[in-house]
Amino acid sequence: MVAPMVHPVLKNGVGAFIPQCRRLVFHYCERSGSSRGMIEYLKKDLIQFAKEHPHVEVIVTPRPSKHPVIRGLYLNGKDKVVCVRNMEPTDIAGKVALLKESSGNRMKVFKKPVISTTESVRGIWSPFHTTPHKI
C-alpha cells in the first residue's frame, strides 16, 4: 500500500517570505499594430524589471499574428494571462506589477478583514462558565 502524500501547511510570511510569481512570459507580434506598445516596453523597461526581481524568470517570445499577451506562472502551478493589446508601456508596466504581486489564487471577494486558521484564544462562549445573573 502506498503511503499518502502529506502536504505541509504553508504559511508564507511567518518564517520566510517566498514571492509567489515564478515566471512571466511576454508574447508579442513583430508586425501587428496592437503589439507596438508591448515592443516599446520590452525595449525600455523590461530589463530593469528583470534586474529588480531576480526571483522571476522572464521569457520573451514572438507569437506572430496574435495580440500581445503576458502570462504569469505561480508556485501553485496556476497561471494568469493578461492581453495587453493596444496598451502604452506605462499601462503594460501596471499589468506586469499586477501579475508580479498576486499569487496563483483566483480573484475572490474578501468578506472578512482577518483570515485565520487558529482556534479562538478565549474559547467558545458557554452559558455554564459565566458570572451568574443577579436580580
Binding site: P19, H129, T130, P132
Partner: protein, 176 residues
C-alpha cells in the same frame, strides 16, 4: 465573541500606559473568589497568585504566563483582531512592497484566555512585539452595486474591483 468571563482586568491609564491600575488588580481577585461558575483549571491558579501577591505580580507577567495571545491592532484607523499566522486583508497600501515587514504599534487590546490589557488609547509598545509581512497585493473580484427605484425609471449599476494588501502576522509576542 466571548465577553463574559470573570477574570478580566479593566482600567483607565491614569498612571501607566499599560491601562491597568492597582484598583483593577484588587477587583480581579475579588470577583474570582466570589464567582461560582468558573472553569476550574484556568482561573484557579491565577486567583491564588493574585490574592497572595497582588501588589508584586504585574499584569504583564500574569499575561506572559499564558499560552496563546491575541491583539486588537489598529491599522489605518480600523481594528483587526489578530493572532499569530493570521492574514489581514487591507485596502491597498501604496507605499509597501512584497516582503516588507511592518511593525504594528497601535494596539488597543492585548489579551489571552484569562487576561486582557486594554490600552488607553493604545498599549505601551514595550510590552509586545507584533510584526506583519506583506505577502500579496491582489485585485479582488468585481463587486456590483445595483440601485433601482421602481416605477421611476431610475436604475444604476456601479462596478468596483477593489485593490487589497494581504499581511501575514509573522510575530505576536508579549514581553514581560
Amino acid at each position: 465573541m466571548l465577553r463574559s468571563f470573570t477574570s478580566r482586568m479593566v482600567g483607565a491609564a491614569q498612571r501607566t500606559n499599560l491601562g491597568v491600575t492597582a484598583s483593577a488588580v484588587r477587583l480581579f481577585s475579588a470577583t474570582s473568589s466570589t464567582s461560582q461558575a468558573t472553569p476550574t483549571s484556568s482561573t484557579a491558579s491565577p486567583t491564588t497568585s493574585a490574592s497572595t501577591q497582588s501588589s508584586t505580580d504585574s499584569p504583564i507577567s500574569l499575561l506572559r504566563n499564558q499560552l496563546r495571545y491575541y491583539a486588537v491592532a489598529e491599522i489605518k484607523n480600523r481594528p483587526y483582531l489578530i493572532t499569530k499566522n493570521d492574514i489581514i486583508v487591507l485596502d491597498r497600501l501604496k507605499d509597501v512592497q512584497l516582503g516588507d515587514v511592518i511593525e504594528l504599534n497601535q494596539i488597543k487590546e492585548l489579551g489571552s484566555k484569562d487576561y486582557a490589557i486594554q490600552g488607553a488609547p493604545y498599549v505601551s509598545p514595550e510590552y509586545y512585539s507584533i510584526k506583519a509581512t506583506v505577502i500579496e497585493q491582489p485585485k479582488g473580484k468585481i463587486v456590483e452595486t445595483f440601485k433601482k427605484k421602481r416605477r421611476k425609471h431610475f436604475q444604476r449599476r456601479y462596478h468596483i474591483k477593489p485593490l487589497h494588501t494581504l499581511l501575514r502576522v509573522s510575530e505576536l509576542e508579549v514581553k514581560a
